[in-house]
């Protein structure tokens, strides 16, 4: 029973990552936009929802005690709006300006989480975030299972929405813009506008994922949104297969499993005083894995399908 409760807990966390991955897939997989600040957008969603839904505390601003669903919606809105602004700033320029700017966004948001104590609680973060099915907390299995169901429902909803969008004319335009900017423009499409929409949509989904995760764990702190998270999510999407929504979900669960298992192995193998040091090996492993996949199997486990040729050598137009 305990093992099952843990399995449900593990899967719930993995599925929150799957939502982030789906958001990144809209930006990168479908549109080719490189976001190096994933953790910042996730954190923004988590903090937004936490500030709105936690009970009122004297020492800080916020704590409005609003329902969880309002928190989720606000998280999407705020993360989406910030993504939109970043997009307006950078999308008309070279593709790596977006990478540099999103990197800066994540660094700056990290500072805000850390230093704006009146709202974010500073280094200690925010606790007492309402958890769905809080009444069941005395029974870990039932509690974890019901939260797993909620998170799975979110994943399913986002997945179905994205699949629907990608089959729509909007999704086709998106891929057209990614594959050939000039041709899409010649057909009367506005590449910058559609990229902007995709970037904001992806950011909103990341914000939602942050809120879902924050409400499941029950607290947020700046340390949860380090560049490490960005890196893990990228590894998940690339391993699973960028461009493929099922690949994004599969990659999230798989890489999270590798992460949890290697963490457990390190806890077993290394003495307590060496564990912090050995934990850095986990990151080396994921970094090497990411580089190897980019070199040897850039399409990931579940490739996007026949329209995909971006990662391979560019062929002359047929």
């Amino acid at each position: 029973m305990e093992l099952l409760a843990y399995a449900a807990f593990f899967l719930t966390i993995a599925l929150t990552y799957a939502v982030i991955c789906l958001g990144l897939n809209v930006q990168w997989g479908q549109t080719g936009l490189f976001n190096v600040g994933v953790a910042g957008f996730v954190g923004l969603g988590a903090y937004t929802s936490a500030v709105l839904t936690t009970p009122d505390v004297d020492a800080r601003i916020g704590g409005f005690g609003l329902p969880i669903l309002v928190g989720w919606a606000a998280a999407m809105l705020v993360a989406g709006v910030v993504s939109f602004a970043v997009g307006v700033l950078t999308l008309r320029m070279r593709s790596d300006y977006l990478a540099i700017t999103t990197f800066g966004v994540a660094v700056t948001l990290q500072l805000v989480f850390q230093n704006w104590e009146a709202v974010t609680g500073g280094a200690f973060g925010l606790a007492f975030i309402p958890r769905p099915f809080a009444g069941l907390q005395s029974q870990p299995f039932a509690f974890n299972l019901s939260n797993l169901a909620v998170t799975a429902a979110v994943v399913l909803a986002v997945y179905l929405l994205l699949e629907h969008l990608l089959r729509s004319p909007w999704g086709r335009t998106l891929r057209a813009v990614r594959e050939d900017d000039v041709a899409a423009r010649a057909l009367g499409k506005n590449p910058t506008r559609i990229r902007l929409q995709a970037f904001a949509l992806g950011g909103a989904i990341m914000g939602l994922a942050g809120a879902v995760q924050a409400h499941f764990i029950g607290f947020v702190a700046p340390g949860n949104f380090l560049p490490m998270m960005t890196f893990q999510v990228w590894a998940m999407l690339i391993v699973g297969g960028s461009g493929n929504n099922r690949g994004a979900i599969l990659g999230a669960v798989l890489v999270w499993a590798i992460w949890a298992l290697s963490g457990a192995a390190i806890a077993e193998l290394f003495p307590a005083d060496q564990q912090a040091r050995a934990a850095s090996l986990q990151i080396v492993i994921i970094g090497v894995m990411l580089s190897l996949i980019l070199l040897w199997r850039p399409q990931g486990i579940l490739p996007e399908g026949r329209s995909r040729n971006r990662l391979r050598k560019k062929e002359p137009a047929e």
Binding site: G32, F34, V36, L89, T90, M93, R94, S95, D96, Y97, A99, I100, T101, F103, G104, V105, V107, T108, L111, Q114, N115, P227, M228, F231, W234, A235, I238, A276, R277, A278, S280, L281, Q282, I283, V284, I286, G287, V288, L290, S291, L294, L295, P298, R310, L311, R312, K313, K314
Partner: protein, 304 residues
């Protein structure tokens, strides 16, 4: 306003500027934003630290401080070795990762992503080898001397500014006057055309890494000497480096240096006015302003 901020800013700016030169060269010649560049600074500092320890073990004379500086003869010697090792690291990484992706004709953004993954791995590897505990080149304390206009600086700090000035002038002469420099500018301008004219592109790429990594090592050692050495030191400098390179105009060596100094000074004044905890946001604000107002940077030309 405390004039001391000017000294602090110029010193921090020297480090940022030297680091940004390598970044801006790689960006204009190899055409990608290299996220591993910050880690070259950190690796350079750690290489030098290990060599200093090795030299100090060989002969005590290497450790004895060279007045008026806080470090002995061992440090400059070790830094030369550290520069060579950092260059080797950059060339190896280009051979096994970036070069292969280039040869396959991968898009820029894939190379950027690979550099992002490699940077995470390099940084964590440092943490594994040396642990996260900060290290120092020297434990000696230096007293800041008055240098006029109400400002004070230690001999080490003045040396950093001097070395930076010499390196930048020398590099500027190499790039503007020598055949190698002309070849580099030609490849930055138009790689295909440069190839047609018989310029050895592979050699130019090698030169770019050699200059960038060697300067990164010097910048890392300076940051280590003035502050401390940590595995994350390069990562923390990455945003200032990018901001300096873009502010100066991609590909411009004087631009990167000037950008670095502007960022260093802005940070120093921000620390006085708003507080040290917001220091890291300064680069971001400058980056956003540049992207809004003059995306091509101070010395840049045309569309970014």
């Amino acid at each position: 306003m405390n004039p001391q901020a000017i000294v602090e800013g110029l010193i921090a700016g020297s480090t940022i500027g030297l680091g940004a030169i390598g970044l801006t060269l790689a960006y204009s010649i190899l055409r990608f934003a290299n996220f591993t560049h910050g880690d070259y600074l950190a690796w350079g500092a750690y290489f030098t630290l290990s060599l200093t320890g090795f030299l100090g073990g060989l002969a005590a004379a290497f450790g004895a401080p060279l007045a008026p500086f806080s470090f002995g003869l061992g440090l400059p010697l070790a830094m030369l070795g550290g520069m060579v090792m950092t260059v080797v690291l950059a060339l190896v990484l280009d051979r096994v990762l970036f070069g292969r992706l280039r040869a396959r004709g991968a898009e820029t953004i894939i190379i950027v992503m690979a550099s992002f993954g490699a940077s995470m791995a390099l940084r964590s590897l440092l943490e594994f080898i040396y642990t996260a505990r900060p290290e120092y080149f020297t434990k000696a304390l230096q007293i800041a001397q008055p240098i006029g206009f109400g400002m004070r600086a230690t001999p080490d700090q003045l040396l950093v500014i001097g070395v930076t000035a010499v390196l930048v002038v020398a590099l500027h002469l190499i790039v503007t006057r020598s055949a190698t420099g002309r070849a580099m500018r030609a490849v930055a301008e138009n790689p295909a055309l440069a190839g047609v004219y018989g310029i050895d592109t592979a050699r130019v790429i090698r030169m770019t890494w050699i200059i960038g990594a060697a300067l990164a090592c010097v910048a890392g050692v300076m940051a280590g000497l003035l502050v401390q050495i940590r595995p994350y030191m390069g990562f923390d400098l990455l945003l200032p480096l990018f901001a300096a390179a873009i502010l100066g105009g991609i590909g411009s060596i004087p631009g990167a240096m000037l950008g670095g100094l502007i960022i260093g000074l802005s940070e120093a004044f921000a620390v006085q006015i708003i507080g040290a905890e917001w220091r890291a946001a300064v680069s971001f604000i400058i980056l956003v302003l540049v992207l809004l107002l003059r995306p091509q940077g101070i010395f840049g030309r045309g569309a970014a």
